[in-house]
């Protein structure tokens, strides 16, 4: 077993032990320079800024903690995890937050090199300056749609945008029935990578927060004891921590709390169905 793998395994084990050990491990990861730099490199390449990098890095740690606690962690190494999860979280951020999406699109729209590249490819292939300008603007609109629909996989965004514009212009040429583009062989349509995997509820955070608020402290506590790391504590231990007589009482309380939770959800008439989001 490699040193790196050993240290990864140690991190996973301490997170699974919970309590202070988990907290100090997560703090260690939070300050981990290499993982941070890995995230930063991917986010910057993907059009994000420092603020985005920070948000994405924190989301990666939350996701790591969750995947380990839920026995869903399956990456070869933590570095792989941070690399893959950064892309996932960045794409989710762009998919869900219009202001961030528009910030990235704005930066691309103001990029003179990118404009020059698109102009070059259009004008080299039977287009004029006006076509190039239209292609660039249509490319930005299409990219916005692609980001919203999750068709972007978190790679270099300039390359992705260039490919989008290229495909737009190629289709335009097909419509005009002119000669195909000169270097078409070099520019195949964007191949989508493996679907991005993220483990999270399909309930919105807002809804979960509302349910949490109405659940009550006692139910929050017993659910936390039971499900934070499933079966870490026996029902006897849960009973002791809850100040209940015995395991049976703890089990009954737990059943009541699950029922209450469900009722709170039904009140919101939410068609709850848990799936592994892809």
């Amino acid at each position: 077993m490699s040193k790196e793998h050993q240290s990864d395994q140690m991190i996973i084990n301490t997170i699974l032990r919970g309590g202070k050990e988990r907290e100090s491990t997560l703090k260690y990861l939070f300050h981990h320079r290499h993982f941070r730099e890995t995230t930063a490199e991917i986010v910057f390449k993907a059009g994000g800024d420092h603020e985005h990098q920070e948000t994405v890095f924190e989301a990666c740690i939350i996701q790591l903690d969750k995947q380990i606690r839920r026995s869903l962690y399956s990456e070869k190494s933590l570095l792989d995890f941070f690399q893959n999860q950064t892309r996932v979280q960045w794409c989710l951020l762009l998919q869900r937050n219009q202001p961030d999406r528009h910030k990235v699109l704005g930066k691309l729209g103001d990029d003179p090199d990118l404009k020059r590249q698109i102009r070059a490819v259009v004008m080299k292939n039977s287009g004029n300056l006006e076509d190039a300008e239209d292609c660039f603007q249509n490319g930005l609109e299409l990219l916005d749609k692609q980001l919203t629909e999750g068709k972007y996989r978190g790679g270099a965004i300039k390359g992705f945008f260039y490919q989008t514009c290229y495909n737009l212009w190629r289709n335009e040429l097909k419509k005009r029935r002119t000669v195909p583009m000169a270097d078409e062989a070099l520019h195949q349509p964007v191949e989508l990578e493996d679907p991005l995997t993220v483990y999270e509820s399909n309930l919105s955070r807002q809804l979960l927060d509302e349910i949490l608020q109405r659940l009550g402290a006692s139910c929050q506590k017993i659910l936390n004891l039971k499900y934070f790391i499933m079966d870490q504590l026996s029902m006897d231990e849960i009973a002791v921590q809850m100040g209940l007589k015995n395991a049976q009482n703890a089990s009954n309380t737990l059943t009541k709390c699950r029922k209450k939770l469900w009722e709170l959800l039904v009140e919101h008439e939410h068609p709850y169905l848990w799936t592994r989001n892809t």
Binding site: E23, L26, K27, F30, H31, E54, E58, I61, I62, D65, K66, R69, R70, S71, L72, E200, S201, L203, R205, L208, D209, I211, L212, L215, Q220, L223, N224, K226, Y227, F228, M230, D231, S251, T255, C257, R258, K259, L261, W262, L265, Y272, L273, W274
Partner: protein, 209 residues
């Protein structure tokens, strides 16, 4: 709801079922509404707990971030303090030692050298030149003192000693050091008065220390 449904759902959600058991569970999940409800309830409980954890972690991130920033700013402030101290030391050094080097050495030597007070008039006898020199020496008019004392033909060790001091204060180090060295070879009380200070100060003043 039957507890056995909950236990089955939790076993599945723990993620350590064998492949065949997992497939069986998923098949039953699609056809058994009781099992589906148990599964959804457990899943919801886990989601709520995960959201709680997320909120808790986000607040910890803010705290750790501040810790990091304050640690960084503490380091920065320490670095600034060190830099300021170094700057002050360098500044003082330049002011004292580097600004016009010869002059500042002279000034320092003059500042720190304890010029002996003017002798009693009677000590030099009735010699008019001696008395005028003393008067000038008292008023720190060393040039005048030198003019008078250097004209004394019978130069006692006392006259030599104060003449050398006048030369020193007048920054004529060559003349001062010759007299001081001459005195140091004699056996008068002035030979003891001058070791090692005046010569050291002359070397300091001339930058040859």
């Amino acid at each position: 709801m039957d507890q056995k449904y909950i236990e089955r759902a939790e076993t599945y959600l723990r993620g350590n079922l064998a492949e065949s058991d997992r497939k069986n569970f998923e098949r039953d999940l699609a056809s058994d509404p009781e099992l589906k409800l148990a599964f959804d309830q457990c899943r919801l409980a886990m989601d709520v707990v995960d959201r709680q954890v997320e909120i808790d972690l986000s607040s910890k991130f803010r705290h750790w971030g501040k810790e990091k920033d304050s640690g960084r700013s503490h380091l920065m402030s320490l670095a600034w303090k060190i830099a300021a101290s170094v700057a002050v030391i360098i500044g003082v050094y330049f002011i004292l030692f580097q600004r016009s080097p010869t002059l500042s050495h002279q000034q320092l030597a003059l500042k720190f050298y304890q010029t002996p007070p003017a002798p009693d008039r009677t000590m030099g006898g009735e010699d008019r030149l001696w008395a005028k020199g003393i008067e000038a020496y008292q008023q720190q008019q060393y040039r005048v003192a030198i003019d008078n004392w250097s004209r004394i033909t019978r130069r006692t060790p006392e006259v030599s000693y104060f003449l050398a001091n006048a030369y020193f204060n007048n920054m004529d180090y060559q003349s001062a050091i010759l007299i001081f060295k001459d005195l140091s070879e004699g056996g008068s009380i002035y030979s003891f008065r001058m070791e090692p200070c005046p010569v050291v100060f002359i070397h300091w003043a001339t930058g040859t220390l």
